[in-house]
Symmetry: C2
């Protein structure tokens, strides 16, 4: 927990083709953290489209961001296009160096990996990409939220896929402002989920549904694998 | 379930001061319904700000909307400013008349009430507003999602507060395209929630937290109550 009187700068990265709920799920929590400024930063001032077309406008550009205390990196299919974007990766690296808390959702973890930040970390990501984490030097953990406390004092939080960002953000709120602050936010957003089916993970979903979703994203998964291998080689990370 | 070959027009209402996840939670599901066009309609083409500042741009204006099969009405504090907005209420009334499915999230249900559409319905809304439903002629049901099948063949779905929209949208997806379609969407969004605290409803949250959240929104609740009473009188609905 950070002293309540310390004002926090919290920022999310916005990019074209993200999965919007990787951002908007945490938004609901991060925008309600007591004594904090929360802003969304885009490569430029223009609105971006999420992978299904939702148009979101950033509050400011990457260049305008102050040093952030909390850095939030969402994922989604558009993450793949940023895996070699020196400007975005440089911003992530620089902000992560100054932050006390780094929080990725879904394949946002792969962006941290491409920035060279996952070496030696315990991490998680989307269920269909978790096998890629070792290429970035991380230990893949099969959990909805992974909290890895680094020796340098930084706290790393990794949420699994998509809606796991809500759970991760509430954990983050508790880390920053204590359990009761997180509980108040949870009540405000009436977060007492009742999924109508038990189909939220590849373990629980019917095998035919898992096969269908895997097939629908097979091309993307193959591209992500090729990128992970290439980046591992460039970063000098031994193949897992 | 609607015949799979029938193309669906699905639309969400966007308005200033909505609670963004009332929209973006369902967005994650509705934008992935097979054989459907999903669009977000705003009073005009300009971006709106959610209650915490997220800027979202509508796809089209209310006037440009076709007859919708599925009408989604989010809520949030900004709902109160629309409770006497003849243009928006007229649009809701007209679209609801042509739709097969009407789906509200959170205090979006109060907008349906102001449009005179809740008389005789079983409904729910945000936990801090559920006592207002009888003023609009509805039976308040204490459930996360309420499905009310009307005699005229229309299906009404009411999600409780904020994040309940995700559960409601998955129920809606199953109504429209069958359980397996909803299961595939659920797996795609890795929706296997693990809230870190049991604080998502006023029954489960610590009493001090409930009192704190109630106090923080007492002014808004009082305004909503006054509006509900006045609209009940105008609509000729007997006081509960």
């Amino acid at each position: 927990m950070i002293p309540p009187e310390t004002h926090l700068q919290i920022g999310s990265l916005l990019f074209e083709g993200l999965d919007q709920i990787d951002l908007t799920g945490p938004f609901e929590v991060l925008s309600r953290i007591p004594n904090a400024t929360y802003r969304i930063y885009g490569p430029n001032a223009a609105p971006v489209r999420d992978v299904r077309g939702l148009r979101i406008t950033p509050d400011a550009t990457l260049a305008e961001a102050p040093r952030l205390d909390v850095l939030h990196i969402p994922g989604g299919q558009g993450q793949e296009a940023l895996m070699r974007d020196a400007a975005v990766l440089g911003w992530i690296r620089s902000q992560a160096a100054g932050a006390s808390h780094v929080f990725s959702v879904c394949t946002g973890a792969l962006l941290l990996g491409a920035a060279g930040l996952l070496v030696g970390r315990r991490a998680t990501t989307y269920w269909n990409a978790v096998h890629l984490l070792p290429w970035f030097g991380a230990e893949a953990v099969d959990a909805r939220v992974v909290i890895d406390r680094a020796e340098d004092g930084r706290t790393w939080l990794f949420a699994a896929g998509v809606t796991a960002g809500i759970d991760g953000a509430l954990r983050l709120a508790a880390e920053l402002r204590g359990d009761d602050a997180a509980r108040a936010i949870q009540l405000g957003m009436q977060y007492a989920p009742e999924p109508p089916f038990d189909s939220g993970t590849p373990r629980s979903a019917p095998p035919a549904i898992v096969a269908q979703v895997r097939a629908a994203t097979a091309g993307l998964t193959a591209r992500r694998e090729a990128t992970a291998r290439a980046i591992a080689a460039e970063l000098g990370i031994p193949a897992p």
